[in-house]
């Protein structure tokens, strides 16, 4: 005999909504969202059309570039970012191995997806972060939204995205962005808020307008944090490519998905490791670049 048996019903069982009511409740919301989708689907699709075109163009560009040129360009970017010859060689070797194992095109697709979504995240995230840093009220509104975006299971927001936009590149991109944007927003906000109060006061004393203060003092001093945010955003975007492939974002992610569905061990491992290779390159390059931005703090007076 358990404690439950001794209690009246309303304490033993949670008083829940009637089954019929609950069904109607869910159906009602679903139905109204479906109506909303039918009425506004086209508008929303049109809204994202430029993004889709950009995405398609960029993917074609990467796929259309001959592999030696592509490797050269990527190595050049690594050199500009990191200024390290070992990293350039490492990048070249990794890319060649990927190509040799037959994953070149899928890697390019993934690269395109990650690049474009990182770009979108930065373009939206930094202004939002700046806004947040300027007002405690805006921060109080946005922080919980970011919390939700980071904790809600990705599959859950795939549903409305799918309903609105169907299967394709843009929904994949949006799903990646929802997951990947919080760090850049958070760290932009944090970086700006952490700027030394004394330095800000000096800027005020010399008559800096709010805009001058932001551009000449706050953003430059927030850069290290801001860059840590961009780095995290790239990493999270890469982590999302498998999930995004569920709704039609092709690339290494969709291969992993196929491998999971069919228990192809080697296929899964290869594509997974290709993602890891790209992640390592992106991570090291962006970290080194972030560090180089802080060259003023390197040499310290003894």
């Amino acid at each position: 005999m358990s404690l439950k048996d001794m209690l009246p019903d309303y304490l033993a069982e949670f008083p829940k909504m009637g089954r019929a009511d609950l069904r109607d409740f869910k159906k009602g919301i679903d139905e109204s969202f479906r109506v909303f989708t039918r009425e506004n689907g086209e508008t929303i699709e049109n809204f994202f059309y430029p993004l889709k075109m950009f995405m398609v163009w960029f993917e074609k560009l990467l796929l259309g570039t001959p592999w030696p040129l592509m490797i050269a360009v990527l190595c050049l970017l690594v050199w500009f970012g990191a200024r390290s010859i070992t990293m350039v060689i490492g990048t070249a070797l990794a890319l060649m191995l990927i190509g040799y194992l037959g994953m070149w095109d899928d890697t390019m697709r993934t690269l395109a997806l990650v690049s474009v979504s990182t770009f979108v995240c930065i373009a939206i995230g930094i202004p939002v972060g700046i806004l947040m840093s300027k007002s405690d009220r805006i921060q109080a509104v946005i922080v919980p939204i970011l919390d939700i975006m980071q904790t809600i299971p990705a599959f859950v927001y795939l549903i409305p995205v799918l309903m609105l936009l169907g299967i394709g590149k843009v929904p994949g991109l949006i799903a990646v962005c929802i997951y990947a944007i919080p760090p850049v927003v958070r760290l932009t906000n944090l970086g700006i808020r952490l700027v030394d109060k004394d330095v800000l006061e000096a800027a005020d004393a010399f008559g800096a307008s709010p805009r001058q203060k932001m551009l000449k003092v706050q953003l430059p001093l927030a850069l290290p944090n801001l860059f840590a945010g961009v780095n995290q955003t790239i990493m999270m975007a890469l982590a999302m490519v498998v999930v995004a492939s569920l709704i039609g974002a092709h690339g290494l992610g969709s291969n992993v998905l196929k491998a999971v569905n069919n228990q192809y061990l080697t296929l899964g491992m290869m594509n997974g490791l290709a993602i890891v290779a790209i992640a390592i390159v992106f991570d090291r390059v962006s970290q080194k670049f972030g560090k180089r931005l802080q060259k003023h703090s390197e040499k310290v007076h003894g």
Binding site: D198, A202, F206, S297, H301
Partner: protein
Amino acid sequence: MADNSIEVKGLYKIFGPHGEKYIQMVKDGISKDELNAKYGHVLGLKDINIKMPSAKIQVIMGLSGSGKSTMIRHINRLIEPTIGEVIYQGHDICKMSKSELLKFRRHKTAMVFQKFALLPHRTVIDNTLFGIELQGVSRGEAEERARHWLSRVGLDGFEDNYPNQLSGGMQQRVGLARALTNDADILLMDEAFSALDPLIRMDMQTILLELQEELHKTIVFITHDLDEALRLGDRIAILRDGEVIQQGTGQEIVLHPADAYISDFVKEVNRGRVIKVDTIMSPATTPPTLQIPTGSSLEFAAKKLTDSNETAAAITDTSGAAIGEISMKAVINAMVTPATY
């Protein structure tokens, strides 16, 4: 020359969300502690009235918590007053609009900070021209002006260093060069030399005095160090608990401290350096052979007298005419600190 005096009139600052509600209570004499305990507001400044003379150094002195840093921040309105006026060239700074205030800060004032407050991501030269860059001066001209002032404070060759590569003393020279490059009439110095070690502090004081001889800016200098105040200040105002308890020249304060608190302060002072011969001279009689110019310190007079083995000297004005005389006895009498107040 334009009148660059600043007049602070009836300035009150009460920190807290509803400072203005408690003005009357403060006027009626509620104490700082009571205001804090009962109403959760902090009395920053109470009825400040100071006339800061044009082209002179006005020192505001007080210990920590006396409100001196709050006071100086009202002159460029980094802190909003609760009530009161700060008048400069006929305008009340406290009533300026945002854009007027921005212009005033850019063109009329420059500030030097205790913790230097240099921009760590900018080189020395880029820090120095920060103020005029905000004014919109072209890069070429700004660099030229910045180089000039960096060289004046002795930082030739450090233009491309970053602040954290410099010692504290050198960083504050950058701070001073940055303020001077602004070419503003008012220079606000908030404990500018307090963070430096004593020898370097003396050095910086000397640089400031030398520069002031040719620049004639209205300088408001905050310090907690009486020796520094006496060395630099043409006029000194002493703050305690947000109130001015005495103001005047250094000599006036040393000779006639307003209360026990100040006399406590001044008793350690080297009076020989502060008090001028003019203060203790007696009317000229038969002129002694030794001549001492007007405005000399007692220390200087004592040295002159002993060096030339005289017991009396004539005080002469700039034209060389005798305006009074002093005796060795009078000099020593005045240099010795009175036993009690």
